[in-house]
């Protein structure tokens, strides 16, 4: 029942047209192999999620009585449990079983209606927020919004994702634009570190384009003469890029003089993370430690919390204080697990765009939160 799609989604995906293919390299996967949790997967929308489709899906569970998902899972695990769940339909009788299925569908439909109302309500709220919180491409206004807060995070992280190419703000260019917008807000708010995460590492692969995009966006906010210095860092391959060094553009020449005066003062450090920095890095670290132990350069008792923590800080970066997610329902997408220990999460329900109100409201929540480790 609930429409999890925006109106303009219906006309999405012009067939076989990929105008932004230029930036996308061949090695970029078409769709990531990340399986989102059910709610966010459904809410993110797309062609397959319409109201009628949801209704069909919900009612389909009456029809496939044999394909009870519970049984399917158990078939794989072991034989003992299989027998037990097969009894389920026998134990309570065929008629009763069917009755409960109908009841469940009824519950689903009620819930779907409720959720649809909630969805509309949330969308309305978001629209109002976007009027109240408006940055108007002016860094002074953003700073003005931040000043009354008691504290701001030292390190900010954001999870970004690629939208379908035909969508508004979709494709790789959309992603780059989103990333650079967040960079601008973060600079204006006065936060020095930003971690940008995307599952497939598309940002990491498009660093030159990202740097150009950030530069042009910063120029839009601060004026071409006062572009703040920034550093783009890829912890995984241990590379750092400063401003537009090494990229030649037309605006580069005029920028030279200004940059010389404020050199060495980097306004923001941006690290780009991907799924590779998550579980895999921890396992790689284990492998390295095992090898070191094998040649007696390290003993098992030396592996302590501090050692692992400092190693992972080196490999990935420090723990962020606030994590912003710009999707409809919280989905961590494999963000490095070691690093989200005490991180505050912020996301706006049913929102599917990178918008300023999420950013500023996230900062507000952070300002109000109390951290008490263990107490």
């Amino acid at each position: 029942m609930p429409t999890m799609i925006k109106k303009d989604d219906k006309a999405m995906e012009p067939p076989n047209e990929k105008p932004h293919r230029k930036i996308e390299r061949d090695d970029v996967p078409e769709s990531s192999n990340h399986i989102p949790p059910p709610e966010s997967g459904v809410l993110k929308g797309g062609k397959v999620n319409s109201k009628t489709r949801a209704l069909k899906a919900v009612t389909s569970i009456i029809a496939d009585a044999d394909e009870n998902p519970q049984k399917k899972v158990n078939n794989e695990t072991n034989g003992v449990q299989k027998q037990k769940t097969e009894d389920l339909s026998k134990r309570i009788g065929k008629f009763e079983y069917l009755f409960y299925k109908f009841l469940l569908v009824l519950l689903y439909i009620c819930f779907g209606l409720f959720r649809y109302g909630q969805y509309q309500y949330n969308k309305m709220k978001l629209r109002i927020f976007s009027i109240i919180y408006n940055h108007a491409y002016t860094p002074q206004l953003i700073r003005q919004d931040v000043i009354p807060l008691k504290k701001i995070p030292k390190r900010l992280a954001a999870i970004l994702e690629v939208k379908p190419v035909g969508d508004v703000g979709g494709g790789v260019t959309g992603l780059l634009n989103d990333a650079s917008e967040i960079v601008c807000w973060t600079v204006s708010a006065g936060i020095k570190h930003l971690m940008l995460y995307d599952y497939d590492g598309i940002l990491q692969r498009n660093v030159p384009e990202l740097r150009m995009e950030i530069h042009s966006n910063l120029a839009k906010y601060f004026g071409p003469a006062h572009v703040p210095n920034y550093a783009v860092k890829i912890p995984h391959s241990n590379k750092i890029f400063y401003n537009l060094d090494g990229i030649e553009t037309e605006t580069d020449v005029g920028n030279e003089i200004e940059a010389n005066q404020e050199k060495d003062k980097i306004a923001i450090e941006i690290s780009l993370l991907s799924n590779r920095d998550g579980r895999e890095t921890i396992v790689d670290l284990t492998k390295t430690m095992a090898e070191l132990c094998a040649v007696n350069e390290l003993s098992v008792s030396d592996i302590t919390m501090d050692l692992v923590d400092s190693e992972l800080k080196q490999l990935v970066g420090p723990e962020p204080d606030l994590l912003l997610y710009f999707g409809p329902s919280l989905d961590l997408q494999g963000f490095p697990p070691w690093h989200i220990r005490l991180t505050e999460f912020y996301w706006e329900k049913d929102n599917n765009e990178v918008i300023y109100s999420v950013f500023i409201r996230g900062l507000r929540q952070y300002a109000g939160c109390k951290v008490n480790v263990g107490k």
Binding site: P37, P38, E39, A54, I61, P337, I340
Partner: protein, 343 residues
């Protein structure tokens, strides 16, 4: 100059008095409401109705998809005690009671595994008195659970309990007791309960790193990969799959719990109610939501509308290729005429 200050003092005192009376009134009204509510609930007709409603709801949800592993962060016991002006101990006891009730419901829903964050390693920083209370309470609950898991008539019969965490931080008697209880309930296989008692997720990962390194040194497992690493964690193969994590009392963070398990495709629900107030309906709604969306997700994966099924089964030779068509096969366009009248 003294007069105004006295007035001021009196004014402040009056204000304070007002606030206090207001608080007391609120508390009194609240307790009256609670009493009335309890009285209504104690009516046999009403409680019969309530129990039956719960039964029907549970049985209905059970025929659909249900998460395999549900996890709780039980936060808010102390705030609960404070709001009701009870000693802290009572708050923890109420929390334990809530957990037992919810466990029973989960078991009936067909959830295979439940884990709960009972005590964090960081909690040792709390006042000693409270730590001791928690330890005592824990042992009492452990005994109770073991007894119930062995009692044929009890709803929790046939469940297995495992205490996970860094047990080197506990006293020897405690460890002995834990071992005993784990042995008693060993052969339950319908339902597993993981109690995380001195646990933090970073500690869990560290322990797994150490174990993997040791195994590597003894050449038991020459190659380490993510799957093997996950299986070595405290919760075994359940570590990889935690479909639903519920955190009560309003904080939007994980507090060092289940980081590895939850950071990929798990639903994380945050609730503003305090843990002892976290009721059947709140949990039921969360699981229903999960079930609803996973039904749709599964359906979408399968792609199984009738048309699509038939379309797939038709061999590709019979399908018309719409895109590959020569320009000269198109019907002719209308005649082209210029406004200037040129030929």
């Amino acid at each position: 100059m003294k007069m105004p200050s006295i007035i001021q003092i009196q004014f402040v005192a009056l204000k304070r008095l007002l606030v206090e009376t207001k608080e007391q009134m609120c508390f009194a009204v609240k307790s009256i409401f609670q009493r009335v509510f309890a009285w209504v609930m104690s009516l046999s007709l009403f409680s019969w109705f309530y129990v039956n409603l719960q039964n029907i709801l549970i049985k209905a949800l059970r025929v659909g998809p249900v998460p395999e592993h549900v996890s709780f962060i039980m936060d808010g016991n102390r705030r609960y005690a404070k709001s009701r002006r009870l000693p802290v101990k009572k708050g923890h006891e109420a929390g334990g009671l809530t957990l037992l009730t919810l466990l029973y419901i989960c078991k009936r829903l067909g959830v295979k595994c439940v884990s709960a964050y009972a005590f964090s390693i960081e909690n040792f920083n709390r006042p000693k008195e409270e730590v001791d209370t928690l330890m005592n309470l824990f042992t009492v609950k452990l005994d109770e659970f073991a007894k119930r898991a062995k009692d044929y008539k009890d709803p929790l019969y046939g469940s297995k309990i495992r205490i996970v965490g860094d047990q080197s931080l506990l006293s020897p008697e405690m460890r002995k007791k834990i071992k005993k209880v784990e042995e008693i309930t060993q052969d339950g296989d319908d339902f597993t309960l993981f109690i995380c008692f001195p646990y933090t997720s970073r500690n869990d990962m560290l322990h797994t790193i150490r174990d993997s390194v040791e195994d590597h040194l003894e050449n038991k497992s020459p190659r380490i990969n993510i799957r093997k690493f996950t299986n070595k964690m405290y919760m075994g193969f359940h570590s990889n799959k935690c479909e639903l994590l519920i955190r009560t009392s309003g904080h939007r963070r994980l507090s060092d719990y289940m980081l590895w398990q939850v950071h990929e495709n798990a639903t994380i629900e945050f609730s503003d109610t305090l843990w002892p107030n976290f009721s059947f309906f709140a949990m039921y709604l969360m699981i229903l939501k999960w079930s609803f969306f996973s039904t749709i997700q599964k359906y979408n994966e399968k792609n199984h509308s009738l048309f699509e099924k038939i379309h797939e089964s038709v061999p590709s030779i019979f399908k018309k290729k719409k895109t590959a068509m020569s320009l000269y096969n198109f019907p002719n366009p209308p005649i082209s005429v210029s406004v200037t009248g040129d030929e």
